[in-house]
Every structure is written in structure tokens, then in C-alpha cells.
Symmetry: C2
Subunit: 405 residues, 2 copies
């Protein structure tokens, strides 16, 4: 685990060279550290944000690679435009437009997954000390990305329907934030989906106070039950900067995400992206396009949804079976994660070494809090393990918790 | 051209939202703007840094894609380690070790091309106002990347053998720079290669004053004539952070580069990379590995060297034929670029609109100066155009220059 290890090792270099303050203070991602530990054999990994590899459309990706090299030839291996390959941007624009918002390819910046979208948003908005309003808990990767720019986080009170509008308005007035960061659909880590009325209230406040909303939406298309809720982007129009990705619906290893926003805003993202890495992998962009068009993406999403929905049900069943009083959990309608709250007094981070010893990895919830951590919480991924391992994993978790109560 | 256009467009957003100072001030890359203009039909493009697309090993890349999906399956499409795919890192470590420096895979961070290497180096070292020492002229993409972190550039006097050690030491003492940035082999933009004795002197100063060297080396393997010079990395060991890339020797569109440095330093890069984009495209890394291993990369480099060497000769012949007194140019032993100095009083940037009208694109040299620009200079790429177009391009350049003299 020891996230301080790397810093200790560089002690010698730090003494000799001059590093930026941020380089000296930045922490390694706890999830990445846990993933290193959980790769030991016998450990059931419910920790990471990994989608199920056995569902990757390997054969269709192979066919797409062939078609790309045949149809586009050298163009698919050459430098390309900073904002992205035009065919892919047009495909995305058409696809986003079907949800009810008229969208042009000029309003899209292709990124290396959502994580780079977060970094670019941080670059564009955050000065040291700028306030970012977040849900409570919120996504760890966003905390990491925005922390690099020395953001100050203020968390808004959140219930099972999302952010509380009264608390949001109070904090907007008090802090004049640079933006409101939300994961409105099947939130990472809590699994919560923001209700329609909350969305309306948050969008109204965003417009009233001229504060943009950053709508981080990696899981929006993965709904397994319940009724769809209208998109924040559709409701908020120009005021909403939406981050999307193919990581959870095709493959994370292709690293193709996007920012969908006003085209003037995309102009700023483009300049940032030039200095960052010129552009996202040309070849990956073509492969995603060739795979996705003509309906193959929609078919594939149906396959994933069926498998993930079943795994979610199995995890919830196992939680009901093996946990008795005092432990609670969310029952998400989609996404990859659910959120467990242990009985008061049990620390999920103290428990982790015992869980790892018992052959189970999870992420302690405290890392997902931008202000006051609740260490009785933890996050479980219900998509990446086999059905059998999900049940066994929950059994192991219940046993280590029981030993502590 | 008008790099101000984007900023003017966002006037409205800037009034309403709070952006970071850097977002408001950052300039679009002039090369990217020129490339947009030069994509018009009939324009011979000697401006960009593009390698020759007709030499891309399309068929072998297709075979590599097939093998990757067959041999590594879902792993090639899944999230992967932040520092890079172990097989590729091991391959690189072995390859770098053959040049005389014992290298471990832990001492490598895979990046999205060299540009992300520059950004990460900037992140790790630069505080607002930190001094970076550069050659004069220096690489535009580095100026752009380091400018984001508000570096202050101080250029060191440079002649046809590279940086002048006396001036370098004076500026080290005066400014206490965070690092010395060099493109020692077939420099972009000048085509100059740093001599062995200069390398020795610069490495000695780096060690004496504990100032790291950033050795940006995208072209090192593309030598067409003359004698090899020992690698800065071999000479400087731990004091040298080397940036490499497959962009010019396989394909830029796969976006695979690397940082080779001390493993403690790589630990810092890894933490930066987590927040930036988690990791570089897994699939591209496997494709590069499968293509490159077993000697195919070495064979391919020979093919490129033969073609590029011939194009260089043709461009130099054409310059000799069409230019008379007053214009000079470098005659590089490798790389992609040569550097032209027009007669005093002729501005390469004023000339550019006329050249574009006459059907030729180049990059005015002034953008490659971190301090005092010399506007009589310009950069030409001799690798990307056909042999016929190289001759025709130089003819067009000579005609617009002649009209001005």
C-alpha cells in the first residue's frame, strides 16, 4: 500500500535537483497501489474500475483493425488533428444528438479516456486555490486530476437523489466556484443516480450564477433497471461540459474519450491538448469508429448490460445473504460500483490488510471524499469478477467484518 | 494563420466563466495553424514534422494487430500499468542497453509520443518563473509545453557544434536553471548535431552543478551520413533524462514515446501520468512491440534512412541550384529538417503568405526562439514530400525570395 514509498526513494534526487512543489507533494493513486497488491493469485479483485475483459469484442476489433488499414491506409498511422479524427467526431456528434441536443463535431475534443478530459478541464479552469464543488463522496480520479492544479474542494451535501440544491446554492454564493463537478449517472463510487428534479434544480442554479457544470458521464449508457433520467447535457445546454468515454462500453485499453461542450470552449481545450500530447492515438480513433458504426456498438452495449445487470443482482443477493445488522449498501440501477457502509466504528481502511489476507480487494471509501472522509465506507466493483467470485468475495468480506464487530 | 481567432471567439465565455490565467494566455501552435492552411490542394508542404506516410509498414502493422489480439487477447484492450506494458518496456530497456548504458525496464515511462514526455518533464520540474536553459533556436513543442508551467527561458549561445560551454556555465551560475533542454541529434529545427567534445563539456557542467539534462532524442536513429556521436544518455548516466519516440521510426499515429531516466525519477513521472490519463493506449503499445521485435524495426529503419537520405540530398542540391548569394542553409547528417537563413532584411514570416499563395508551406524560424527571434530564418522538412515536390518547392521558395531581394 505504502504510498509514501516512492517519495522516500527519491529523497536523494530531491536533495540534488529542483522539483516543482506539486511534484514533491502529489500522491500516488491508492487504487493503482491496491491493484498492484491484488494481482497476487487467489485475491478476488472487487477494487478496480476494470470492465469485464471476457466481454471485449476481440474478433470485431480485429476485423475493424483490418478495415482501418485497408480503407484509410497511412492516414490511420499519421499525425492527425488535435481535436480528433473527423469521422469519429462526426459519429459522436450524431450519436449525442439523438439524446435530444443538437450537436456539431466542432463541439467535441477527443481525449485519452475520461481521465485526460478531467486533466484538461483542470488546466482550463483551475488557479491555485480555485474552488471546485463536488458531490460527497466523489470520484477519486477527479480529485487527483484537479489537485495537481491546487484546487480547493468544497463538497456539497448529497443524499440518495444527488446534490442538495439548498446546500449547493449556499456554497456557490460563499465560494464562487470555478465549476460544479458531478457524476450524475450511477456515480463512482456510490452508484447513485441524480433524480430529474435535482438535475433541474442544479441546472437552474448553474444558469442563475453562471457556474459551469462538469458532467462526468462514463457509465450513462449502462442502465440495467429503472427508468432513464434526462441527460444533464440536454437540460443544461451550453452550461454543461460533458465528459464521455468508450472505456466501459468498448475497451479502456484503446483510451478513447471525449469532451462535449460549447465549440468556443473546445477551442481552449484544443490549445491545451496541443501542448499535452498533440493528439490522441490516430489508429485507436479509427478502430473505435470502424467498430462502432453501423450498429455494432449498440449490439455490444446490450451484451454488456445483460451480463453486468446479472452480476449486480448476484452481488446484492450475496450482500443480503451474508451481512446481517449494521451494514448497508446502495443498490444502483446501472454502472459498475456499489457502496457499502460498515457498522459504526469499523474502519474500512484498517480492515483492508485483513481482507487482502483473506483473498479480497476493495477500495476503502475514505479516498473518495474531497473534504471529511467517512472511513466506514468502501467501494465494490460488481462487473469485473465472475459470478462465482462475486459470491465468494462477499462471503470473505462478511467474514472479516464479522471478526471485527 | 491568425492565432488570435480562438481567443476572440471565447470572449463571451471568458466574460462569464472564470478561467485559469494560463488558459487565457496560451497560444495555439503556429505549426498546427500552418498545417491547416497548407492542406489546400496544390500547396507543397515542407512545414510540418510529418514523416513520409508512403513508408509506413502498413502490412506488417496489420499482421502485428492480428498477432496481438490472438496472443494477448483481452489484456491488449484492458487498462494497463501506468508506466507501460512490461513487454514493451523490457524491449526498450534491451534496445537502449545496446548503446552502452545498462538499463532496466523500471527506468522507463511510456508516454503518448515525445510531446507528453515534455509535458511530464515540465510538470515535474517547473514552478512559475523556473529557468529552463535551451539551445538557440530550440524546439517549438518544448517551448509550448514548458510555457504552460510558466517557465522562464534563457537561451544559451549555440554554433554549428551545439551549445557553447562557457556561455552555458555562465548562465547556469546566473540563473540556477531547473534543467538544460537539448535536442542533441539532428536538432529540430536547425538540423545541427552536437559534437562529442561539446557533449563531454555539457555533461561535465551538468554533473558539476547538479543540473539535469533533458535529452530530447526523436531523430537519433536517423543518420544518413557522417560518423555516429556517442549518446548523451550514455555519457551523462543518471544526470540525463532522455525522451524517445517511435513516431519517426514506425508511426506517429500510434503515439508511443518514452522517458528513459533514473528509476526514482520515473516514480515521479508515474504519479504525474496517473492524473494525466492513467496510462498510454495499451493496444498501441502491444502493436509496437509485436511489430518491432525480432528485427523488423531495424529493417524498417534502414528503409526509412535510405529514402530520407536521398530526399535530403535532393533538397540540398535544389537549394544550391536555385539560390544564389545571401541565402545559407544547414546540411544535416540526419533527421527531418534543415534550416535556412535568408538575406538580411527579409522576414520569413512576412514572406509566408506569399509563399502559400505560390503553393509552398514552411515554418518561419522565429517561432523556434525562446528569447530573441531571428526572423530571417525558416525551417524545411525534407522527408515528407516526394522528390519531385521537394525540387518544385525549393524553386517556389527561391522565386518568392528573389522577388523580395
Amino acid at each position: 500500500m505504502a504510498t509514501g514509498d516512492i517519495l522516500e526513494q527519491v529523497g536523494q534526487l530531491i536533495d540534488r535537483w529542483q522539483f516543482s512543489e506539486r511534484a514533491k507533494s502529489i500522491q500516488s493513486s491508492i487504487i493503482r497501489e491496491i491493484l498492484k497488491d491484488s494481482s497476487k493469485s487467489g485475491v478476488i479483485n472487487l477494487a478496480g474500475g476494470l470492465p469485464a475483459p471476457e466481454l471485449f469484442p476481440l474478433d470485431k476489433i480485429r476485423q475493424a483493425c483490418d478495415r482501418v488499414l485497408q480503407k484509410y491506409g497511412p492516414e490511420s498511422l499519421q499525425y492527425s488533428l488535435t481535436t480528433g479524427v473527423p469521422l469519429l467526431k462526426q459519429f459522436l456528434a450524431n450519436r449525442i444528438s439523438t439524446i435530444g441536443f443538437d450537436f456539431s463535431p466542432d463541439a467535441i475534443q477527443i481525449t485519452n479516456g475520461s481521465q485526460q478530459g478531467l486533466d484538461i478541464v483542470g488546466r482550463v479552469f483551475i488557479e491555485p486555490g480555485s474552488v471546485v464543488l463536488t458531490e460527497e463522496p466523489t470520484y477519486l480520479g477527479a480529485i487527483q486530476a484537479f489537485s495537481f492544479y491546487s484546487a480547493r474542494f468544497v463538497s456539497v451535501r448529497t443524499d440518495e437523489s444527488g446534490m442538495l440544491p439548498d446546500d449547493l446554492e449556499m456554497k456557490i454564493k460563499e465560494h464562487r466556484p470555478v465549476f460544479i463537478y458531478l457524476v450524475p449517472n450511477f456515480q463512482n463510487p456510490s452508484g447513485i443516480t441524480m433524480s430529474k428534479s435535482r438535475r433541474e434544480a442544479v441546472v437552474a442554479l448553474s444558469k442563475k450564477h453562471d457556474i459551469p457544470i462538469v458532467d462526468d458521464n462514463p457509465y450513462g449508457e449502462l442502465r440495467y433497471s429503472g427508468q432513464p433520467v434526462p441527460s444533464l447535457k440536454v437540460m443544461g445546454g451550453q452550461n454543461v461540459i460533458q465528459l464521455g468515454t468508450f472505456s466501459k462500453i468498448i475497451s479502456p485499453g484503446l483510451r478513447i474519450g471525449w469532451i462535449a461542450a460549447d465549440k468556443e470552449f473546445i477551442g481552449m481545450c484544443e490549445k491545451m491538448k496541443q501542448g499535452l500530447d498533440l493528439h490522441t492515438t490516430t489508429f485507436s480513433q479509427y478502430v473505435v469508429y470502424e467498430f462502432a458504426k453501423d450498429g455494432a456498438l449498440e449490439e455490444h452495449i446490450e451484451v454488456i448490460k445483460e451480463a453486468y445487470g446479472r452480476r449486480r443482482d448476484i452481488m446484492i443477493d450475496a450482500l443480503r445473504r451474508y451481512f446481517t445488522d449494521g451494514t448497508t449498501w446502495t443498490e444502483p440501477e446501472g454502472g459498475l460500483f456499489l457502496w457499502v457502509k460498515l457498522p459504526e466504528g469499523i474502519s474500512a481502511s484498517d480492515l483492508l490488510p485483513l481482507a487482502l489476507k483473506a483473498g479480497l480487494a476493495y477500495v476503502p471509501g475514505k479516498y473518495f471524499f474531497s473534504q471529511k472522509p467517512d472511513d466506514t465506507t468502501l467501494r465494490l466493483n460488481f462487473c469485473n469478477a465472475t459470478e462465482e467470485n462475486i459470491v465468494e468475495g462477499i462471503k470473505r468480506l462478511a467474514a472479516v467484518v464479522k471478526a471485527k464487530v
